[in-house]
Amino acid sequence: MKRTMTAALALSLGLIAGAASAQTVKVGIAAEAYPPFASQDASGAWVGWEVEMIGAICAAAELQCEIVPVAWDGIIPALTAGQIDAIMASMSITEERMQTIDFSNKYYNTPTVVVGAKGVEMDATPEGLTGKVIGVQVSTVHQAYVEKYFAPVAGEVKTYQTQDEANQDLIAGRIDATQADSIALDAFLATPEGAACCEVKGTVADDPAILGLGVGVGLRKGEEELKAAFNKGIAGVLADGTYEKVTAGYFASSIYGN
């Protein structure tokens, strides 16, 4: 399957064997679905905004990329151990991660929202979430944010391997609220179950030190050449309109942020 994926990517990129055929860059994505950024369709192929963007950025950067799914909670060790060469898994650029790995420029940045059960009075502030049970995905900026701002007053903070599991428990009433990317949660609220149970309670106050400077390509430290290539690719898709074209297929407005 991996081989067909590479083939499909190479095709879609229009990469010809002759074109600066350096080594294949193994781009790690989270093996857990994160729609609409990356998920598997019925045939098992990876689809989504981020998957298309990987293709576009690699093409603009003249890199030959191969998508490698890696479990999210082990994705940074996989990068540092050399199993993959880059991470493009909606990973926010943060100070803490920068101690271990390097990042390219951002390729998207979306607001962070709190979604809660309908009929429960709350908003996205520490006062509004006092005593509530909050669920977040582990090792995300949202966990760090919730731990800092909401954990001291919340009833309990529960962590989940995937956002889907947190959403499940929100539907089941085991948690009162969850915090994540607005786009990921919009997709959840668009499902019949999500629409029936829950609603957006508000956007959290920004904290760039935790919520990061947007989503970038995670790279091993010291690989300046690859970093420059990805930055060139990102600048390229932004300049030639590919970014807007891909985004229009998934979102109502640009998600590049400001």
């Binding site: 060790p77 539907i171 009433g173």
Partner: protein, 258 residues
């Protein structure tokens, strides 16, 4: 005390001590103070989950074994089916079926949601405890079936001839001998049960395994928490083995004497 100090034990202890010294001095342990309270909590949660699930499971296993060994068909058949289903499906599946299946049915009934039980039902540990208990009951029910069968029929007949009532035969003759016969097996099964407890981390129960994962996810330190985790489980397994050895030794009658 003397039989403890056999050459192979001393040798293994020395190797162990050398390894511990090497790990303690050469690896990163600076995260320990910060996570120590969480780890203590996790160990405690692992222990009470293990103890409660084995005790409750054993209480279920005795009637299950009795029903299969000597019960009428309408008791034997369901007991048989229960043990087969539990032993024939992965524990992870059972845990998820209970938590995401049964657990998400409850909130659909408003009267459950408003009842006093809801604060307990919305938590994860009841489902973890239930799944572990049922699993232990399934395996031990099968063990107890063999144990009840292994008690010589002549003894039971003799007891009946002496005019003992049935419940007295069970409590004084049958059950004690059956339990004695399977004590070594039960010790091994309890160690297996201990090794099954990390599975409950998948439904947000923060036991010791979940704490180790959390350390890895927060700090990107991979090996140290896992090594410590292995040590914790080894100690717990050692405690279980010692405990069962004590019980075997203290029994009112030993096989050796018989």
């Amino acid at each position: 005390m003397r039989d403890w100090l056999q050459p192979h034990r001393i040798f293994l202890c020395l190797i162990g001590a050398a390894l511990v010294v090497w790990c303690a001095t050469q690896m990163r342990w600076d995260w320990l103070p910060k996570y120590a309270p969480l780890m203590a909590e996790g160990i405690w949660r692992t222990i009470w989950l293990l103890v409660l699930s084995t005790v409750l499971g054993m209480m279920l296993a005795i009637p299950l074994g009795l029903a299969q060994a000597a019960g009428p068909w309408y008791l034997a058949a369901p007991a048989r089916i229960f043990c087969t289903v539990i032993r024939g499906t992965p524990l992870l599946l059972q845990i998820w079926l209970l938590y995401y299946g049964l657990g998400s049915l409850f909130p659909q009934f408003p009267w459950i949601r408003q009842s006093d039980l809801w604060p307990i039902l919305r938590q994860a540990w009841p489902y973890a405890l239930l799944a572990l208990t049922l699993s232990y009951a399934g395996y031990e029910g099968e063990v107890m079936r063999g144990a009840f069968r292994s008690v010589p029929r002549g003894q039971l007949e003799a007891a009946r001839a002496m005019g003992m009532p049935r419940h007295m035969i069970l409590w004084r003759i049958w059950l004690p001998q059956a339990v004695r016969a399977v004590l070594p097996t039960l010790g091994g099964e309890t160690v297996l049960q201990m090794k099954a407890t990390p599975l409950v981390a998948t439904i947000t129960v923060v036991e010791i395994y979940a704490v180790a994962s959390r350390v890895r996810q927060d700090t990107f330190i991979v090996y140290e928490p896992l090594l410590l985790l292995a040590l914790v489980y080894l100690c717990l397994a050692g405690l279980i083995v010692l405990l069962f050895r004590q019980i075997e030794r203290r029994g009112p009658m030993t096989r050796r004497a018989g």
